[in-house]
Amino acid sequence: MIAWSALGIEFVVSLVAAGGVVAVFALGLRLLAVGAPAEARAAAERVGADGPGAVDQAELPLTHPRPPWASLAACLCFALVIAAVLYGIYLIIPQFHQ
């Protein structure tokens, strides 16, 4: 028998797992950048000022210190991703789940 339902479940679970991990990790990176020049530029663009152009964002100093809520939320995101990685290792190593 061709396991169509297994394939369907597989697709949904892969999508949720990969999409979730990538989104949460990206969110963590985004939160770390709160207060960074990109933010200031985005704010400036909203009021119609010119952006700084093609400047490597990583080279610029933070214009504002990162607010504590952003640091905390970023840590939470990375903790979730680390948990997902550990679960992945658990699934790979047969000795752990037999």
Binding site: E10, V22, A38, A58, Q95
Partner: protein, 386 residues
């Protein structure tokens, strides 16, 4: 032909196959990390080799059948003889080397199955092959693997770009490079637990068939060690030709894409091996890279490259089967036939190696297009396309 001689040949060819399996599949885990500069090429293959070595020791449970039900083995079916396994390995190795020379990622598992199918058809007739299992375990997964992984990676890439404002957030590029390294390592470890075990199974089942080992017992320690070392050595040797295709020629992989693609591959491989619809690692990772190209910008996938790969996937099984069938025909003529096949196989391996020296690809040139090397085109920087 002396039975022991065939067993020794199977062991040697099994380890050669394991080695080609290693360098064929380095690209699966590491091509995107090398392409984005997350890891230096030599470091990438070292990590991948170490994890394949560890993985090989973690999972040593030998499958009950060589062909996973594709050839009707055992009760009511045919007996897979060491001669068939020998011919099957010759077919698989030749196809792996041909696709490596052309820089095409193709499934080593499918090559091995193809070789066994060819040997079984010549050895016992068309009825020896379970064609329904060929359809459900090779053909359909080959169709679904890139579709599933590609869609997952497309969504993941889109999410990564949206959340980090097209990766312009401070530190985003670097962060994605770190993340990508971890995902790629998971893919390598999963690969080691799956693929080294296949060769261990082939060698162990040959010992059992030849009466050298009791049925139902696991692989001997030296078999585990030899297989683990062979796949790790193969992985370390790099397979740069395939890595260049996967990392550079499907799409220009950027760190967010690389992270999304590798994470999607890792998730799809893990989920598929635990939910009962196993998918080929090669086809999953390639599909994920295509998906990550689509997730960024529809036009940035080079469909011609993907088309060549898809064609290679389609003909992997028949091509390996054809070589194995011819090998079986020659071996059947007796001891001289076996010697002819061994000589032809060694000559074939040497020929592909010689051919590859004419246009070598190494860890130094893995990220450079050959048009640039030949001076036909200016190098293009790897950064964000405007």
């Amino acid at each position: 032909m002396d039975a022991l001689a065939i067993v020794i040949l199977v062991v040697v060819l099994g380890l050669v196959f394991d080695f080609t399996n290693g360098f064929h599949d380095t690209a699966n885990a590491m091509a995107t990390s090398v392409a984005t500069g997350a890891l230096r090429p030599r470091v990438a293959v070292l990590i991948s080799a170490a994890l394949n070595l560890v993985g090989a020791f973690l999972s040593t449970e030998v499958a009950a059948t060589v062909s996973n039900g594709i050839v009707k083995e055992g009760q009511g079916g045919i007996q897979i003889t060491p001669v068939m396994i020998f011919a099957g390995l010759v077919g698989a190795i030749m196809w792996n080397l041909a696709t490596w020379y052309l820089g095409l990622p193709s499934s080593s598992t499918h090559a091995l199955f193809g070789g066994l199918i060819g040997a079984a058809i010549i050895g016992s007739g068309w009825g020896a092959v379970d064609w329904f299992n060929v359809l459900s375990k090779i053909a359909l997964p080959a169709l679904f693997a890139p579709l599933v992984a590609g869609t997952v990676a497309l969504v993941a890439t889109y999410a990564a770009y949206m959340i980090t404002r097209r990766a312009t957030s401070r530190g985003a590029e670097r962060g994605f490079r770190y993340g990508q390294t971890v995902s790629a390592s998971l893919v390598s470890l999963a690969h080691g637990t799956n693929d080294a075990q296949k060769t261990m199974g082939v060698i162990t089942l040959t010992f059992i068939a030849a009466g050298l080992q009791k049925a139902g017992t696991g692989p001997q320690f030296w078999v585990i060690l030899a297989c683990a070392l062979a796949i790790a050595a193969g992985t370390y040797s790099g397979g740069w030709r395939i890595m260049r295709t996967v990392g550079k020629r499907i799409t220009e992989v950027t760190p967010p894409q690389g992270f999304a693609a590798e994470t999607s591959s890792a998730a799809t491989i893990l989920v598929s091996s635990h939910l009962g619809f196993p998918l080929s690692t090669t086809q999953v990772t390639t599909g994920a890279i295509v998906g990550s190209g689509l997730g960024k910008k529809l036009a940035s996938v080079r469909w011609a490259t993907f088309g060549r790969m898809a064609l290679a996937w389609l003909i992997t099984v028949p091509a390996a089967a054809l070589v194995a069938a011819v090998a079986t025909l020659i071996v059947k003529t007796g001891a001289i036939g076996t010697v002819i096949v061994v000589v032809a196989a060694v000559a074939g391996m040497a020929a592909f190696w010689m051919l590859s020296r004419r246009h070598p690809v190494s860890h130094e040139t893995v990220n450079v297009d050959e048009d640039v090397l030949a001076g036909r085109r200016e190098p293009v920087s790897v950064g964000e396309p405007k």
